[in-house]
């Protein structure tokens, strides 16, 4: 698609795109290229000489048990965060979609956590569930649970998943509500006239019509769990105890911070890049499909 009415100028359009182009090249492509190049190089311990080692850094990485575990952990976190947040948000959206008094108020009261930054989410949740002073920890201990997420890796992971899912409820809720409101009332009424009870109406009519929204949100939530959980993890557990809450992004960050192996850190970045490309690709394919619906 192109405009028919346009301006004629040789230099002006370049001047207009120049600022964005400069930033994109300097701060996006150049560093990304550096990461790719770096991932094929091996530097000696003193940083004096580098040699081209093909895929050695990658092979080394996949032999590393910690990296393999970080991949599995990241996928597990993404899955757990997406499923728990999506199902709770869908329940709330279905309720808020009913013709209730005060439905606008409900929407306002449910969407604001979108604005809470991940590191703050981490601080709120560790305070609430801190082993020695957390308000909720008392009740957990009263239930006989030996609650200490600062020492117990599984509990720390559960805490990260809960906190991350909590933050994402509002986003999912908003998109589910929009999705529900776009379903024509006549379809639901037709099902009701055919004698379908509300639960049956939901599973046979509403849920299938909502599937594009669900799929879209699934991808968005996975991307969120991959990248935006960094702030939550950093204020809550810093990847610990041990490495039990270290995700792929957190590992790139800590490995680079220790400054040890440049090649390995770069290889990790490149693998993450490939994962983003795949996820964004899936997202766009879906957008195209939505257009033709």
């Amino acid at each position: 698609m192109q405009k028919q009415a346009i301006f004629q100028s040789k230099l002006l359009p370049y001047a207009l795109v120049a600022p964005q182009l400069a930033i994109v090249l300097i701060f996006f492509y150049w560093p990304a290229l550096q990461a790719v190049i770096q991932s094929f190089l091996l530097q000696d311990a003193f940083g004096l000489s580098t040699s081209f080692v093909w895929f050695d850094n990658y092979l080394e990485l996949f032999r590393e048990r910690a990296y393999f575990e970080a991949i599995l952990r990241t996928f597990f976190f993404s899955f757990a965060i997406a499923v728990s947040s999506l199902s709770f948000a869908l329940l709330l959206a279905v309720m808020a979609d009913k013709p209730l008094r005060g439905s606008m108020l409900y929407r306002t009261l449910l969407i604001w956590p979108y604005a809470v930054a991940p590191p703050v989410v981490g601080v709120l949740w560790i305070f609430m569930l801190h082993p020695s002073l957390g308000v909720l920890s008392r009740y957990l201990r009263a239930l006989g649970i030996d609650w200490n997420p600062l020492l117990d890796g599984d509990q720390a992971a559960a805490l990260i998943i809960l906190a991350a899912a909590w933050k994402q409820i509002s986003y999912n809720f908003l998109f589910f509500l929009a999705g529900l409101q776009s379903i024509p009332r006549s379809v639901i009424e037709a099902a009701a006239i055919d004698g379908a009870r509300p639960m049956r109406r939901f599973w046979t009519v509403i849920f299938p019509l909502l599937s594009p929204t669900i799929f879209f949100l699934l991808v968005v939530n996975i991307v969120y769990a991959f990248f935006d959980t960094f702030g939550i993890i950093d204020t809550m557990t810093r990847g610990g105890p041990g490495k039990s809450t270290e995700t792929l992004v957190y590992k790139v960050y800590t490995d680079g911070l220790l400054g040890g192996n440049l090649g390995s850190s770069a290889a990790q970045s490149v693998i993450l890049m490939i994962m983003v490309i795949v996820l964004t690709g899936i997202q766009f394919r879906f957008v195209e499909r939505k257009v033709t619906y």
């Binding site: 405009k3 964005q20 150049w30 990461a35 956590p113």
Partner: protein
């Protein structure tokens, strides 16, 4: 019309209020903690009702800071966050709208290549190029500066895409009409296109402001000086989960202050916020 029976409606109200309680409880707890005495909190004896230290805690937080970990007043951190968020939001909108203008209203060699170059940055979030980007910013001597905090984040594929799509829907007659009035590319942009884009810009601004205010990984990497840290970084330095010395009322007051501006923006400009969110995700 599908009628809902009375008791189903009650259930809906109850579930929604439970949802609101779950969403609000951690924040309520933070506020309550910020009004109580640190010794009581550290003992695990915190009350679930607000205490009497509201003014004392918030005064100390905003103007003095913690007495241990970071001595930086949180008021100053908020100022840093505000400058960064505004630079990012305004910068992204400004450079995206002029790029989109060039791409839609001009024909020039490499037009579509440039569009794709901007578009593909969607797939290069800062997390996948952390250290090489850090190195470039360090080489440009932009560590610990507002330029370093904002410039590398200012490119925006989504904003460019959004403005491009919007410009495509602007009728050609408008350009022809203003050309008859003798307007050149600058006049047309300033007098016709910008006023038409106002709602789009506002919706985008709301989303980008929140995005900018909530930046974490990037400021964490490039700020080392206390007087350059943003509120999100400050709060991280205050909290030492394993250490009994954490000054919890101040940490919680900082958390409340960190949430306040973006939450107010979402609630006060809800229509624009929803519009911006839905449009940037398309």
């Amino acid at each position: 019309m599908v009628e809902e029976e009375g008791f189903r409606r009650y259930i809906a109200h109850i579930i929604l209020w439970i949802g609101i309680a779950i969403v609000a409880f951690p924040v309520y707890l933070a506020f309550v903690a910020s009004t109580q005495d640190n010794a009581v909190i550290a003992n695990g004896q915190m009350s679930l009702l607000p205490g009497g230290h509201f003014f004392k805690t918030y005064y100390q937080t905003i103007f003095v800071g913690t007495s241990g970990s970071t001595r930086e007043p949180v008021g100053h951190m908020m100022l840093n966050s505000l400058v960064m968020a505004l630079l990012i939001a305004v910068g992204k909108i400004a450079i995206s709208i002029i790029s989109a203008y060039a791409i839609v209203y001009f024909r020039f060699p490499f037009r579509m290549s440039i569009f794709w170059l901007i578009f593909i940055t969607l797939m290069l979030p800062v997390e996948v190029r952390i250290y090489p980007t850090y190195k470039i910013v360090a080489d440009l001597h932009m560590l610990d500066s507002y330029a370093g905090l904002s410039l590398p984040l200012i490119a925006s594929a989504t904003a460019t895409l959004l403005f491009r799509q919007f410009f495509m829907t602007v009728p050609d007659e408008l350009l022809e009409a203003s050309r008859i009035d003798g307007a050149g590319p600058f006049r047309f942009f300033w007098d016709t296109l910008l006023p038409l884009s106002r709602t789009n810009m506002a919706a985008l601004f709301v989303i980008l402001f929140i995005l900018g205010w909530n930046q974490y990984l990037w400021p964490l990497l490039i700020t080392t000086r206390d007087d350059m840290q943003t509120i999100q970084i400050g709060i991280r330095k205050m909290i030492t989960t394993t250490d009994a010395l954490t000054e919890w009322p101040i940490v919680m007051a900082t958390a409340v202050l960190a949430m306040l501006p973006p939450v107010v923006v979402v609630v006060a400009m809800q229509k624009l916020f929803v519009r911006g969110l839905v449009e940037t995700e398309k």
